[in-house]
């Protein structure tokens, strides 16, 4: 199972890239843990998670490959 990750705003700045893939991630809690290991700075940041373009509000198990986006607080308009 493959997670295609997209980062926006300040999160992309920190990662130095906007897209990458992670393998063998069963759910969003595991994903977040992994991300915070890779980029400790993100552990203290506020962001939301969208799985296949829907914002999730609790741990979500991936049922097959997933597109996941990490979304910093919005500042449009």
């Amino acid at each position: 199972m493959k997670v295609e990750l997209t980062l926006f705003g300040q999160l992309a700045d920190i990662a130095g890239r906007t897209k990458f893939q992670l393998q063998d991630i069963p759910d969003t809690d595991t994903l977040q843990k992994k991300i915070h290991e890779m980029y400790p700075e993100m552990a203290n940041m506020s962001y939301s998670i969208a799985v296949n373009k829907k914002t999730i509000h609790e741990n979500t198990v991936f049922e097959g490959d997933a597109n996941v986006a990490l979304l910093p607080p919005f500042s449009g308009g």
């Binding site: 997209t6 969208a50 910093p72 919005f74 500042s75 449009g76 308009g77």
Partner: protein, 147 residues
């Protein structure tokens, strides 16, 4: 689910005043309309700790933003007796003094146009995955935070 198509709201760079005029002009054939309410967001040259803002560079998670905007549109049409609504948001760089957001709502009587326009603006700011990076005159930058 409604039959309305997902509309694009994004365009590159600032929204020109002439575009706004054309949009207003197009409604002159809709003679059931009695009131238009328009909100325009303009980039402010804020003084920040990092320096003075000269532009905002907008990015968005476009597909998600358009799906969300579609849902907002459906809910606004269900809630208010409006004739039409139009939303345009900039991507890329918009200089201080230029327009980055154009929300336009029309109805037979003013209340629905005004109330729906306000609600659309609030929802755009709170719910659409769009980010503004403030570019300073000294070329440093910081990510904007909506209040």
């Amino acid at each position: 689910m409604s039959e309305r198509k997902i509309k694009n709201i994004f365009s590159q760079g600032p929204i020109p005043a002439t575009f706004i005029a054309e949009s207003i002009q197009k409604h002159s054939s809709q003679t059931a309309i009695g009131g238009h309410s328009i909100f325009l967001g303009q980039v402010r040259a804020d003084e920040t700790e990092q320096g003075k803002v000269k532009a905002i560079d907008y990015t968005a998670f476009e597909e998600m933003a358009l799906e969300k905007m579609h849902q907002i549109r459906e809910e606004i049409f269900a809630k208010y007796p409006i004739t039409c609504m139009h939303v345009h948001h900039s991507l890329g760089q918009v200089q201080a003094g230029e327009i980055c957001l154009f929300v336009f709502s029309s109805s037979a009587h003013r209340k629905a146009a005004i109330d729906s326009c306000n609600e659309i603006v609030e929802r755009i700011k709170a719910e659409l995955p769009i980010w503004g990076k403030e570019i300073m005159e000294n070329d440093s930058h910081q990510w904007k935070v909506n209040k």
